[in-house]
């Protein structure tokens, strides 16, 4: 068993690499990326100042443009587009050195040595050594922090340009997801509070739906064909036919105070900070719950129908098995037969579904977050795609993928725990 799970965990690695490469390529191939956007914005700014400008193509081609070439190079370097795509992927993973703190220098008039201020009054000496550039400290030793290279693309018309930079291994494997373009914060800092919000809704929703669905499914199976079974089936059909976010919309119209009843707030995770901070602890709890009622209903409805029907069918199937007849035949009480023998076997499919539920609950909720205007994890990912904020988009997708992979393994573990007959090989 242990070997099986170790193998499963090891198999996660190629899957993880495969899906991240896929995501990376799709995103990087996409036209209208952050570089082009920024250039367009700068261009639009220049247009407002009444200057004549060419198209983006002109600027990219380095023709007559408002952006000086050095600025364009700087932008490319900032967004990492000065490297080929496979290097960018490896830098992003953290297995290829990431270059930071770029400074441009120019070797003028055939000079082979120059000095560059790298901040705080420190000067580095750069020496041209064939194709390479050596960096020396002021005392003449080779610098271990700074490196330099000739910028071949930029060196034209007899000019010789080079860059001096520091390099480090820093990527998702070292926990560095980069810095968001739009929030101007480390991606992890942007994600953490939003992830908590989504977890709150997801886990509460999941807990509540299990709390309702399992007893309901059991009751339906035991009273199969009764009026209760029929009526609850109607509810289940309704729940199945209405997506969570659509139900959320209806609830908002009904109870959000637009045209009908003004019971619940129109959205948001909690009251705005100004109000929130004036509340007592009890008031904060009430405020939080008051905001959470509608979203959680919308959240839970998605898994409600499926879970209940699964529980019911699984129990029904077990009840018609021979071992139940045997249990009755040897004189056990009905209570014991059902609650000890039948139920234990019936929760197996539910247990195996738990991983899938976790994955969906945490990542698949952006529609509901959008309806209720909750600043959660899914909404952040969605907005990042709109803004072409690649560090956040990539970070978001990576986390979703990892959660899914882990959830799959969790399912197997849950299955093995509930059902001792299962032996994975």
């Amino acid at each position: 068993m242990t070997t099986y799970f170790i193998r499963r965990i090891l198999l996660m690695i190629p899957t993880f690499l495969g899906s991240t490469i896929l995501i990376f390529v799709i995103l990087q191939m996409a036209p209208g990326g952050p570089l082009e956007r920024t250039i367009q914005q700068l261009q639009a700014g220049a247009m407002q100042q009444g200057e004549s400008v060419g198209s983006v193509g002109d600027i990219m081609g380095g023709g007559s443009s408002v952006l000086p070439e050095s600025a364009l190079r700087e932008l490319k370097r900032f967004y990492g587009f000065d490297k080929p795509i496979y290097q960018r992927y490896m830098i992003w993973l953290g297995i290829w050195p990431r270059e930071t703190k770029h400074r441009e220098v120019e070797f003028k008039d055939g000079a082979i040595e120059l000095q560059k201020n790298v901040g705080r009054g420190n000067y580095m000496t750069l020496k041209l050594e064939g194709e390479k550039v050596g960096v020396y400290n002021s005392d003449g030793t080779i610098s271990e922090i700074w490196k330099a290279a000739i910028d071949k693309d930029a060196s034209k018309d007899g000019k010789l340009l080079a860059t001096i930079f520091q390099s480090e291994f820093s990527g998702i494997l070292t926990g560095n997801l980069g810095t968001s373009y739009t929030y101007d914060q480390p991606v992890t800092d942007v994600m953490a509070p939003r992830f908590k919000i989504s977890m709150f809704f997801g886990l509460t929703g999941m807990f509540l739906s299990y709390l309702v669905c399992i007893p309901l499914g059991i009751r339906k199976a035991l009273n199969h064909g009764s009026a209760f079974d029929f009526l609850s089936s109607v509810v289940i059909f309704v729940a199945y036919s209405i997506p969570g976010f659509a139900l959320g919309g209806v609830l908002l119209v009904l109870f959000g105070g637009g045209s009908f009843w003004d019971v619940f707030p129109l959205g948001g995770f909690r009251s705005p900070t100004e109000v929130w901070e004036t509340l007592s602890v009890w008031g904060q709890i009430k405020d939080q719950l008051w905001h959470a009622v509608l979203p959680i209903i919308a959240w839970s409805i998605g898994s409600f129908a499926g879970l209940t029907v699964l529980m019911k069918n699984s129990l029904l199937e077990n009840i018609s098995q021979d071992y139940i007849r045997t249990a009755f035949a040897k004189g056990l009480q009905e209570k014991r037969v059902i609650w000890v023998h039948a139920i234990r076997n019936s929760v197996i499919p539910i247990a195996s579904g738990i991983g899938g539920v976790i994955g969906v609950v945490i990542a698949g909720s952006y529609l509901i977050e959008k309806v209720f205007n909750i600043d959660g994890f899914g909404k952040m990912g969605f907005q990042a795609i709109l803004d072409r904020d690649y560090p956040i988009t990539l970070g978001f997708l990576v986390i979703v993928v990892v959660i899914r992979l882990i959830a799959n393994i969790l399912s197997d573990i849950a299955l093995a725990t509930v059902d001792p007959r299962i032996r994975f090989r």
Binding site: T15, I23, F237, S241, K370, I385
Partner: protein, 355 residues
Amino acid sequence: MESKNMSEQQEISLSILKKRWLKFKTLRRGYYSFIIILTLYILSWFLPILINNRALVVSYEGDLYFPVFSGYHAGSVFHQDVPGEAVYRELKAEWKQADSENWLIMPPYPYSPYEDITVQGNKMFEEPSSTHWLGTDNTGRDVFSRLCYAFNISISFALILSTLNYFIGILIGGSMGYFGGKFDLIFQRLIEIWSSLPMLFVIIIISSIIRPTFFLLIFIYTIVNWIGMTYLMRAEFYREKSKDYVAAALSMGQTNFKVMFKHILPNSLVPVITYFPFSVVGGITALVSLDYLGFGMPPPTPSWGQMLDVGLSNIPKWWMVFAPVSAQFVTLIMVVFIGEAVREAFDPKVYSRLR
């Protein structure tokens, strides 16, 4: 000899199908839902002559015009003083008032899904009334009219999408189960990678790069959505492969292709058919979600999701939320009823009572 066998075989399989059809008919909830959806869907192909702002027939100074079919006629053709296209509703009222010899016949519900506030007499956010049954939206378009056209688009989308998914799923999943070995292993890895991605996000990324049309959207959605079917088909083909009739067919020199699609496939159709209505439900929901997020059909295509988006940005305009949600709900619940009845007819499970 062989042809006789064939016809016998067909008769037997026909009778099984017939039995199932008869069983399906006895499940009234599903059967009536099926009839209603089918009727509505067929009717929805005739929407241009049922719900439209162009007149069916115009008789003007002795000449007959058929604007629904012939398209654009400027207002000046009928001496109506409007810029651009003639406004037939007003024309009708005018002629009636003037008791003129000219006449025209409008479709039963005389509003088009595309005519917005630029057409004279249309207002933004009108409440439901006898003229606009479900009110108007943020650009003055008639909600009921858009709702009906969106029904046609949603169902067509879901049907084509499911069929395509089935086609690919059966082909790949079937091959995986049938050939097994390395082919199976490689595709399983690929599928695992592909299915670990959050699909709606992948679609959004792709849709934000290329503005999708109806068929492009179906294509994109198929790329990410074919996986569900492969699991089912792989298991089915894997099980059927080891049965005697397959060995018999192979020993008679049948090609792999024939064995797969002529012999195994008909024997693994039950999960395919019972799963289909639920696949349609998934397709409709997906389209609504994408349209709601703004990554679905290009505007101004009528769509439930787009209407829901307008409604949720203008909460007091309750009809803008209720109308699309109800339409979607009614459609989906009928498809679910059909699905449940189909499952009952094809794959009946009889549970014994407790003792």
